[in-house]
């Protein structure tokens, strides 16, 4: 008895130790905000939530002095961080802070450039080399070329003209241009992005930069350049890695541009790459495709528990997203017999219960018809008597009992 308690104590200690370790090994992240022509009070907590949700990062938000304030007081110790996220578009930092930031990046510090941060510091040459491309702030041909895709070819265009524009906000299609980069590997080649500003005519030094994804700026929303404009970029600056997302214009609560799973997942993946040069996160089950926008109103991925909770009241006329998620979950369990059986048991429980809708049961029967085992058969046989489910039950049995 004593021995068992002793063991439990050790186990409990170990768990505490492991979780403490996990926190300590998460990458310390600094989100810099405080001045922006955009709603930084809305965006910065969302950025923190998105990054911390991966458990790879522990982020803190640092707020600069207000516009016109004493910027000398903004003096972060960058060396404490593995990642710096820029959600800042405002007054110049002090020379000392600028130098410290450059030192941080040169020494291999990771950087995420988020949306309007590429509007910032038009005069600061090294900053522009870090962000690769920028817009507004009187940027023009003196600041570097336009970079975009035209007819599926990457174009570096030195012609004269202003940098930065966007048409009316709308949902748009993002095209992956480099599919074997760690950030984009395994992502759809095309996916719909939530309602956002489509940044266009960005220009800058574009040194050591790769354009990972673009979006076509059509003319229907005004401001259309009829070019495939860069949306996701990676830049190397000495030892530092920079991930630049031109997407994610924030509304009061973040809104669709930030709730978009494509924005969330590329930000999470880009941030990890900026720190380590690699991405260990799996592509989420709800990543969008060309078929349509997928939003996470609470910024967190649906859990399997939530799927089963919702599937009981599944109404095809309202949404199919819980079923799609379940199908994706099943595919990701390929080869995991125990995982599949556990899932099958959960599905059979819903089938045998009286809470789920007919639509829900029909769809579960279709999935079980191929992924199920003998375990499902008795429950499905019971459903053959049910006039509404007879066809689907017979369909499933025809496959399962072959």
């Amino acid at each position: 008895m004593m021995k068992k308690q002793y063991l439990l104590l050790i186990a409990a200690g170990l768990i505490t130790f492991i979780s403490a370790c996990k926190n300590e090994t998460a990458y310390k992240t600094l989100i810099i905000t405080g001045q922006n022509n955009h709603n930084w009070k809305a965006s910065s907590p969302v950025l923190k939530q998105i990054l911390d949700a991966t458990k790879l990062f522990t982020s803190e938000i640092m707020i600069t002095p207000e516009k016109g304030g004493d910027m000398k007081t903004f003096n972060p110790d960058f060396s404490k961080y593995k990642l710096v996220v820029l959600d800042y578009n405002g007054d110049s930092w002090s020379d000392k802070t600028n130098a410290a930031f450059l030192e941080y990046v040169k020494n291999g510090g990771g950087v995420v450039v988020y949306h309007a941060a590429d509007n910032s510091f038009p005069e600061w040459k090294e900053y522009n080399r870090i962000i690769g491309l920028g817009g507004w702030g009187n940027r023009n041909e003196k600041d570097g070329p336009y970079v975009y895709y035209k007819n599926n070819q990457l174009v570096t265009d030195t012609s004269a003209g202003p940098g930065g524009t966007h048409g009316k906000r709308r949902e748009f299609l993002v095209k992956t241009r480099i599919t074997d980069h760690p950030i984009t590997k395994g992502l759809p080649s095309r996916w719909m992005h939530g309602n956002d500003e489509l940044y266009s005519l960005l220009r800058g030094p574009a040194e050591n930069m790769q354009v990972l994804a673009t979006a076509f700026a059509d003319s229907t929303a005004g401001g259309g350049t009829m070019r495939d404009e860069p949306m996701l970029m990676v830049i190397n600056y000495e030892k530092g890695r920079i991930f630049h997302t031109a997407m994610g214009h924030a509304d009061e609560d973040g809104g669709p541009a930030m709730q978009c799973v494509g924005f969330i997942a590329t930000l999470q993946r880009g941030a990890e790459w900026a720190v380590t040069g690699d991405v260990t996160q799996p592509v989420p089950n709800d990543f969008p495709s060309v078929a349509g926008v997928v939003l996470r109103p609470g910024y967190t991925e649906i859990s399997l528990e939530e799927v089963f909770l919702k599937i009981e009241s599944y109404d095809i006329a309202k949404s199919t997203k819980y079923l799609s998620y379940l199908q994706s979950y099943i595919r990701n369990l390929a080869g995991d017999e125990k995982g599949l059986l556990d899932l099958e048991k959960m599905m059979v429980k819903v089938l045998s219960g009286d809470k789920a809708t007919v639509d829900a049961k029909k769809l579960l029967l279709r999935e079980l018809s191929w992924m199920g085992s003998d375990y499902s058969v008795p429950a499905i046989k019971n459903l053959v008597q049910d006039a509404e489910l007879k066809d689907e039950a017979e369909y499933a049995l025809a496959r399962l009992q072959k």
Binding site: G186, S189, S289, A291, Y395
Partner: protein
């Protein structure tokens, strides 16, 4: 069935009659064609259509252009408006009002005495209707893909072989010169020893969400449209857009398999075999009634070492079309008379007399009619059509299960994977069954 002896027998008989200097009038009023028309010596092939949607009508127009070669006599569709339009088209061409109409293919097959039938239906109906038509010893012009499942396809292939009819698949790219030339260059080693083939098919579409349940329009027999597929309420999605729903189709992938995968196989000498290992990934819509993969990317390995990658065009460097890569270069073909090569000189190569000469046809529909008359095999016979769609269907299974599929192209079985094996067929809703051969 005895009275439904093939056109070939008739041709032989009339030749014998002619040899006996037994002269019959060469031109007859169209009214004698159709029922019993075959006993009259005419060059015209008596033909009808099952399925008069966009592809069915397109084929019909191509057959009607062969004015002196075919006599269109009957049409069948589950949509009364389309049926009326089809009859109008036929009657206009025939300058009469004799085209007969049917809402039920069983009645069509029972009553009509035809030489050939042109069939263009949603894929989930192919297993039943192709097999029944072939069992009636009709020569068939059948739309690709020839089946929705491997099991349906095996049945159709057996039926065609057993009944020894002429089959032409609607894989009309075979009858275009650029595809023919590209395939001949590949199969004759002009890019060296073939190593790798890339096949780019169209990207998927934007979804439409889930439209509300609607009243079935009075012209549409929805129950018959669904047939062997699971019963679902009518949501306004039937004609054309059935292709984005897995119950009826595998999407762009299975739609186009009968074109660019078929061409790939043709030029690689793979048209009578299949891959031994298939693995890959699909991207599926997250919301709405359309559930076919909108992206797909899978790799097939063949027993002879050749590999074939099939993906939606956005994922491939050359986009749409077929590219054969050998150890000396590559050749690419696509629609719009596209043909290109790693070295343009390859395209000027002439295939010698002692090399492999691929079947040549200049008009896909004419080729079918000619073959019905001559008894010669058509340019797009049944088994290559089955092998082309099999690649797509096996890719679909690999993507659905998330597993590497091991396939025996001879026995047509998946090895050691019960789940994947179940996906080789779609059980039919009662009372429909797959006909026996």
């Amino acid at each position: 069935m005895a009275n439904k002896s093939s056109r070939r027998d008739f041709v032989k008989r009339s030749a014998a009659l002619a040899a006996g200097a037994f002269v019959l009038p060469q031109i007859l009023p169209s009214s004698v064609f159709g029922r019993g028309g075959r006993i009259v010596p005419s060059d015209r092939i008596v033909i009808g259509s099952i399925g008069t949607g966009s592809q069915g009508m397109s084929n019909m127009r191509d057959f009607l252009k062969l004015t002196n070669a075919v006599q269109f006599v009957a049409v069948c569709d589950v949509d009364a408006l389309r049926l009326a339009k089809a009859k109008e088209t036929v009657d206009l061409a025939n300058k009469n009002s004799d085209c007969r109409t049917y809402g039920d293919y069983r009645e069509f097959l029972e009553k009509e005495k035809l030489d050939a039938v042109s069939i263009a239906l949603p894929d989930h109906w192919h297993g039943i209707i192709y097999t029944e038509a072939v069992n009636k010893k009709l020569n068939v012009y059948g739309e690709k893909p020839i089946c929705r499942t491997i099991k349906d396809g095996q049945t159709i292939v057996s039926a065609v072989k057993k009944n020894n009819i002429i089959w032409q698949t609607g894989s009309w790219q075979r009858s275009l010169p650029n595809f023919h030339h590209g395939a001949e260059l590949a199969i004759n080693g002009r890019v060296g020893k073939l190593k790798y083939i890339e096949v780019g098919l169209p990207d998927g579409n934007k979804g439409i969400g889930t439209p509300p349940v609607k009243d079935v329009p009075p012209e549409l027999n929805w129950e018959m449209w669904l047939g062997p597929a699971l019963k679902v309420p009518y949501r306004g999605v039937s004609h054309w857009d059935w292709r984005w729903i897995l119950d009826y189709s595998g999407g762009q992938l299975t739609d186009w398999a009968g074109h660019h995968i078929d061409i790939a196989n043709w030029g690689a000498g793979l048209e009578y075999t299949g891959p031994v290992e298939i693995s890959g990934k699909g991207v599926y819509p997250t919301e709405g009634i359309y559930n076919v993969p909108v992206e797909y990317d899978f790799l097939c390995k063949y027993a002879n070492g050749i590999e074939m990658r099939v993906a939606n065009a956005s994922r491939l460097p050359l986009g749409m079309g077929t590219t054969w890569h050998g150890d000396l270069g590559w050749v690419h073909v696509d629609r719009g008379n596209v043909i290109s090569a790693s070295d343009p000189k390859i395209l000027d190569e002439v295939i010698g007399e002692n090399e492999i000469q691929l079947y040549k046809s200049e008009n896909h529909w004419q080729n079918f009619i000619d073959c019905v008359r001559s008894g010669k095999q058509a340019i797009a016979p049944i088994e290559p059509a089955f092998r082309a769609i099999s690649v797509a269907l096996l890719g679909e299974i690999a993507m659905t299960t998330g597993q590497t599929i091991v396939w025996d192209p001879e026995k047509m079985e998946i090895a050691g994977n019960t789940r994947a094996s179940r996906l080789l067929s779609h059980p039919y809703r009662q009372p429909w069954t797959l006909p026996t051969v």
